[in-house]
């Protein structure tokens, strides 16, 4: 944009012989500066993350020493999730069979379907999810599966230690799966 020339036109008449100094305008075109200012503002707005860390709550049960103090759950409403390594999830409903025929494998994507169908099949007060993380699974897996409880609005769930039998089953089925991939 052109600048306004204020120096032109009818300057003061100085005495004869005095050279007329050219008057320079003091006005500066501020348009580029405004551009820069807004550019910086947009930059700051876009790079600032507003997200604050959130927290998910977990209430731990008090360890019950006596067996009669422990919570009881109806067998038909129980589903047990076992977390293995490499984001594997295994599950069974009710009690584990001797032959482990109801032991099924799944993953973090499909487990939602399993939980939803279980939720629809069982009355709300009987539904209990037992989560048993194995030593191989990661913290992320545990948080994800707890999150799955919130996502599917399951009120009763428990974090329980894995038993030896189950740990072996998990390890075995993981081996089998690995072997199947190789062949």
């Amino acid at each position: 944009m052109s600048e306004m020339d204020t120096s032109s036109g009818g300057g003061h008449k100085k005495g004869p012989g005095v050279k007329k100094g050219k008057k320079l305008s003091t006005r500066v075109d501020l348009t580029p500066m405004v551009d820069l200012g807004f550019l910086l503002i947009t930059f700051f707005i876009f790079t600032t993350t507003m997200s604050q860390a959130t927290a998910m709550r977990l209430f731990l049960p008090k360890d019950a020493d006596k067996p009669e103090d422990q919570n009881k759950a109806k067998e038909s409403g129980v589903i047990t999730l076992l977390l293995g390594k490499d984001n594997n999830v295994f599950y069974y409903e009710g009690q584990l069979d001797n032959s482990a025929s109801n032991f099924k494998s799944s993953n973090f994507h499909d487990i939602r379907e399993v939980l939803m169908s279980k939720k629809q099949r069982t009355p709300e007060k009987d539904m209990v999810v037992v989560i048993k993380p194995s030593d191989e699974c990661s913290y992320k897996n545990v948080v994800d599966i707890l999150d799955e409880m919130t996502i599917n609005v399951l009120k009763r769930y428990a974090l329980v230690d894995i038993s030896n039998v189950e740990a072996q089953l998990v390890a075995k089925s993981e081996e089998n799966a690995a072997a199947a991939v190789k062949n």
């Binding site: 501020l30 500066m33 997200s51 927290a55 194995s134 030593d135 999150d147 996502i151 609005v153």
Partner: protein, 215 residues
């Protein structure tokens, strides 16, 4: 003929006012932006649908890094002072109370705590530190730490936070939980990054129908 001559107006606008506004906004944004305090221990937290914002006051945070090392941070300096004095009198560690108060985090077994505190703050970079030993369930030092915290808070409940790395293994997480349980800290919160509820799930339906959720 009868048309009135419109005076020609200059198209140049004075930009000074706009410039003022732009830089005023800019300085406002710069001054109000709080920088994330650089963390001594690098942790990538998992995502969850939890919507509650993590508390920032009165916190006792346990950090679980990707190798399963455990660190403790707290923000209340008066509580830390009490803890340092208790440690000095009960375990005879000879800790520098002032350094203990100012320390950003604790990540050493009790035996090495004095030398840990003797290091300058900028050399205590997280991943080089040994961390609080928790692996061995018979010698879980976090249990002692948590009972110290419980005593120092004297019945008041601090906000107990657990900030774990995605890659941390479950046994480390379990020993932290055990330490909480043994000291009757039955409520704690896990720091996560927010994520929205997946479409089609029950939680999503709840939030669509405007139901309030209980976290």
């Amino acid at each position: 003929m009868g048309r009135a001559k419109l005076p020609r107006k200059s198209t140049v606008i004075d930009m000074t006012a706009m410039c003022d506004v732009a830089f005023l906004l800019l300085s406002f944004f710069i001054l109000t932006t709080k920088f994330k305090p650089s963390e001594a221990i690098a942790v990538t937290t998992p995502k969850s649908v939890a919507a509650k914002v993590a508390p920032t006051k009165d916190i006792v945070m346990i950090i679980l890094d990707k190798d399963g090392k455990v660190f403790l941070t707290m923000d209340d300096e008066s509580v830390k002072e009490v803890m340092a004095n208790t440690l000095n009198s009960t375990k005879n560690l000879g800790l520098n109370v002032n350094a203990f108060k100012k320390a950003q985090f604790f990540g050493a077994p009790f035996g090495q705590l004095a030398s840990f505190l003797a290091l300058p703050e900028d050399q205590r970079k997280g991943n080089l530190n040994p961390g609080i030993p928790v692996k061995d369930s018979s010698n879980n030092e976090l249990v002692a730490w948590m009972s110290l915290v419980a005593n120092a808070y004297q019945g008041k409940k601090p906000n107990l936070l657990l900030k774990g790395d995605n890659l941390a293994k479950y046994p480390a997480f379990k020993s932290v939980i055990d330490a909480f349980k043994k000291n009757d800290f039955l409520k704690f919160q896990m720091v996560t990054n927010p994520e929205s509820a997946p479409v089609g799930t029950d939680l999503w339906k709840q939030s669509q129908s405007g139901e309030k959720r209980e976290d």
